[in-house]
Subunit: 362 residues, 4 copies
Amino acid sequence: MASTYGNNIKITIFGQSHGPAIGLTIEGLPAGMAIDEEALRTFMARRAPGGSLSTPRKEADEVEFISGVYQGRTCGVPLTAVIRNTNVRPQDYSSLHLIPRPGHADFTGHVKYGGYEDPTGGGHFSGRLTAPLCIAGALCMQLLGEEGIAVGAHIVAIGQVRDRLFDPIAVNANDFTAVKKHELPVMDEQQGIKMRSAIEQARAGGNSLGGVIECAAVGLPVGLGDPMMDGLESRISALVFAVPAVKGVEFGSGFAGSALWGSQNNDAFYVQDGQVRTRTNNHGGILGGISSGMPLIFRAAVKPTPSIAHEQNSVDLQAMQDATLKVTGRHDPCIVPRAVPVIEAAAAVAICDAFLEQKKYR
Amino acid sequence: MASTYGNNIKITIFGQSHGPAIGLTIEGLPAGMAIDEEALRTFMARRAPGGSLSTPRKEADEVEFISGVYQGRTCGVPLTAVIRNTNVRPQDYSSLHLIPRPGHADFTGHVKYGGYEDPTGGGHFSGRLTAPLCIAGALCMQLLGEEGIAVGAHIVAIGQVRDRLFDPIAVNANDFTAVKKHELPVMDEQQGIKMRSAIEQARAGGNSLGGVIECAAVGLPVGLGDPMMDGLESRISALVFAVPAVKGVEFGSGFAGSALWGSQNNDAFYVQDGQVRTRTNNHGGILGGISSGMPLIFRAAVKPTPSIAHEQNSVDLQAMQDATLKVTGRHDPCIVPRAVPVIEAAAAVAICDAFLEQKKYR
Amino acid sequence: MASTYGNNIKITIFGQSHGPAIGLTIEGLPAGMAIDEEALRTFMARRAPGGSLSTPRKEADEVEFISGVYQGRTCGVPLTAVIRNTNVRPQDYSSLHLIPRPGHADFTGHVKYGGYEDPTGGGHFSGRLTAPLCIAGALCMQLLGEEGIAVGAHIVAIGQVRDRLFDPIAVNANDFTAVKKHELPVMDEQQGIKMRSAIEQARAGGNSLGGVIECAAVGLPVGLGDPMMDGLESRISALVFAVPAVKGVEFGSGFAGSALWGSQNNDAFYVQDGQVRTRTNNHGGILGGISSGMPLIFRAAVKPTPSIAHEQNSVDLQAMQDATLKVTGRHDPCIVPRAVPVIEAAAAVAICDAFLEQKKYR
Amino acid sequence: MASTYGNNIKITIFGQSHGPAIGLTIEGLPAGMAIDEEALRTFMARRAPGGSLSTPRKEADEVEFISGVYQGRTCGVPLTAVIRNTNVRPQDYSSLHLIPRPGHADFTGHVKYGGYEDPTGGGHFSGRLTAPLCIAGALCMQLLGEEGIAVGAHIVAIGQVRDRLFDPIAVNANDFTAVKKHELPVMDEQQGIKMRSAIEQARAGGNSLGGVIECAAVGLPVGLGDPMMDGLESRISALVFAVPAVKGVEFGSGFAGSALWGSQNNDAFYVQDGQVRTRTNNHGGILGGISSGMPLIFRAAVKPTPSIAHEQNSVDLQAMQDATLKVTGRHDPCIVPRAVPVIEAAAAVAICDAFLEQKKYR
């Protein structure tokens, strides 16, 4: 089984990179939401390829709502959106069926599906499948926005170039706007320029880079999320790890916090303007799986794009012997910039799911 | 909603720290499994308090199977196990209802449940609730063991004391046995001794420490897990983050890998004895959410125990004004050692869930 | 997998008839509900054996809440209730393992679980497992009651003795009270007396009888339930068919309505006191899976108790040859009276699940 | 939430009658199934309108697989199929928004979705949404067929004209073939002719008829299904009640059986050719929710089509006053014939779900 997530906002993502279409079904959106097509387009454009830093594959990513919308508004029933795949070049991948690309799902998918997998462009495992997740994210952000909740992310590292983190106490929606003004969504534009150089160097060398994305959600009421398996960390990480190439997720002070004393890592409570707040935010806005009202903050580690132009060692799965492989086709030297809205989308869907859960009890 | 996990192995954990009992229901275990009570007791004992490094609270953790077992074997229907809470001292927590402990779920639970939460000992949020997870883990490990799959974990850091990692290529069940021979489950006993000192120092200072646990699963066939939201990373992280105090999870090269070149992080395939293997294991045994047959490896960051003996700043939730708090009661200065089997249990349940999923298609 | 139901109110039932205990876990109840122990006891007593018409097996059915309750109120986390099995006599069933009782799950359970099933008293398949469902029902009825929704049922047939149906337009909570005043919950006490005679005749002849139960829910707002697979008919029937011995469920005019003209079966709308109502109620309060505000009405067919004192033809599963069987032990000649609250419970849980679903969108 | 079903075969149905498209996503089909397009087309044609007895609306029902298929075979990932709506005439329904059609979901949908529902042609509530269910059914039948399991249905009543039932002991796949040879799928062609007359009479009178469909599945192994909420009756009824207009479901002897003595209704076991069978089949092939190996048999009551040409009493929802309504547009006087494959599809999906569940444990 596969590609379904959520209890209250339930999404099912379908499609293959070079099949007829990709898309998703979302259940649980309230009826009457006016689809903000402009906001959707803007959001999708952030994920779309085409910038000077990414793959030359042009994907129009035109979203068609084939279910769940009536006269421009959600009508309460399952919403299905599809994006036709127009610019497919399956021949680029014709040899992959037998010689799996290192770092990709070619090998594992081949074994899992007994040789019946769709090998073209990664099939259902392609990064292209994050486009439908962005549709879900845009709609959930619209819903959360009406409740005063905003979600935003930025790049904190590309390769070994690092930018500073969000201020875990003061981060707000203005920061989300500010980072988008740069070519790369960073806090410090100087670091963004260095990141751009690093990416261009990777491209020139036929190599690739990964990085780290930090995401925050602000405006959450206290009380979203549930204990144990439905805690916010569990809900969010389950969806963030569904994004191809993510190999690590940490909340608040995360791995660094695990090296501190308790007296350093604990966040003292205080009252301000009738609200309970914490002086520091090592807990990343989540205590016991439940939102504390402080900014929710997490970081995702994105591995370097496995598609590189170098000749690599692999195996011939039919002959079962060693082989070499040179990946051609169109690929990003670094998908981190395009992954930023995808991480936001994952966070927005997970938070929206917890938000609707909590609405039952108010 | 809360405390349910899984599609094929479905677990529901219930109970409060100082309520009548804690326990769980597991659905999906095959009928006819002889419950290995000795293995269960041994496994539970690793989580139990009582060592010189942990809380003096004595919990017998006697497991009673009240459903799903007949004549010592699983009988196919929901298995329910309960552990009576015998050594409860609710008065230790009598003041917590109004002055939440920093780093705990007291505040978020209070708001979420409108003041009706069980505040004694953390209620359902207590680390004590990991005991039922260990029951599930022990049973799932038994099932996986029959398939040649073993799961083991060790401490790689306590505070700032670090041990070396598992060898990501060669790790095997012998390593799991070896680390258990030390007082703390570590690779290098010298580091274990330093960790012990650090914990004793924390206790002496009324403080606490966190750390990092590394877990591996070996013997997995290729093909477990599913793309996107049911990928192994999503399945495992959702359950690992359900363990109180876990704030980060990374697979394979994780955060460090995100700073490498693609050419460094990609794991080259080769054929050995008719099996496809990889020369390195930065992917942590998972490609596209699906097991590659290489050791599955992940690390979890555990925050320092929030219960410390220092006076801390907090708030009086009734008066809505600042207050101070001194936590009394019995607490571990470092729960990392006791969390090791819990992380193993989480991994075992998640892998077992994916294993049964795949059995449908063989 | 087995014994879990629901999306918003999620119940998991566990236990075997002659195991240590039976019980259930309910997730999704709001925090702060004062458990009405008296109402629970009264409700459970209607299902309990012990009347002159039922089995002499005495079951105290004492409910212990081991999770989810704090100081007499729900505290928001999974609620688990157990009933210890005290009066077990496994030897009564000692021969059933090999010679399955006709009409019972002995044979199918034996094959499904590979001979590892618990054969004593039907194990998990026993009617005794409806006691936990009644706990869930009582709690859900309490919740629905606060919203002005009442659920009630009565016997419309025992064998060939039939009573009249609820008035599908005018049925209300007073009817639910009225039917409980009779020895058997019927509309017309004269028919109840005939039913009692029929049951006594069955007992005298070592035989058994089935019947039909009608259940209504009143006070529902318009809009509960969802289209297609989460329609109220689907939700309710899935849980009602979980009650052992139920072999048919029909809503509104049901099977009889399928023989009418559309012009007869359609229910005309009209406005009364600012509310939309229907002149007739052949739709049983559900249109398109969604509540119409009219009384929700359904009937369940209960097969005759399969345990009869006659010698019956069966098979010896070990020798794989024909055999005869005489069931001893303590059995009801007719479980219909005791099934009445169980059907109410199933309806209450299903409606409560739909009710919480809809609360998300108000 | 809405339109998702199943644990192992998971289907999500989307679309509105007069929206751009209808379709579904199926998860859980094994990779490598060659899509039998001819069988699919034949199956879909049985549901399609166009015969002399049904609506003149012509729907091509051309199925496009946009996900999950590669080179004509399932490739293991979510399968999505869409049918474009080509012959839509929304103006036929332009007045329905305010004056709900009796017997339809217009009123309940309007209230549930706060006036934002898609009112054209019933929207998501339309019988047209059974076409995607038929796609799922055809694929599941193909899968079951490889295991020797066949599913078939016939009409047992149209209005007051009744045909005989399947022989509950001897029914087999030949019967399924035989009934399809008649214009209406019946056992006794003479009764089919009378049914046809009744339908023509209904059409002539601007009226409509309902009926009863009986469905059987043969070749099931013993052991499919699970106790309580995942019993076969629960699984099947939940999906059959998702079919618009179904208001009753009974298994085996059903409602009639509830009037028998236990000694009459119990089905005696015997051994034949090394197999356990029953002499009668009042249990409809299901004991304790689990298949017994005897033919699985159930009947579904279908209400008369609510769309009739008579003037009917309704309400003006805007003015909140009584009103009359005359439904125009293209409608079937009796949908029972077209519902036959839909009921088969529902049964096939539910059985397939239970079949894959059981495969985990073999």
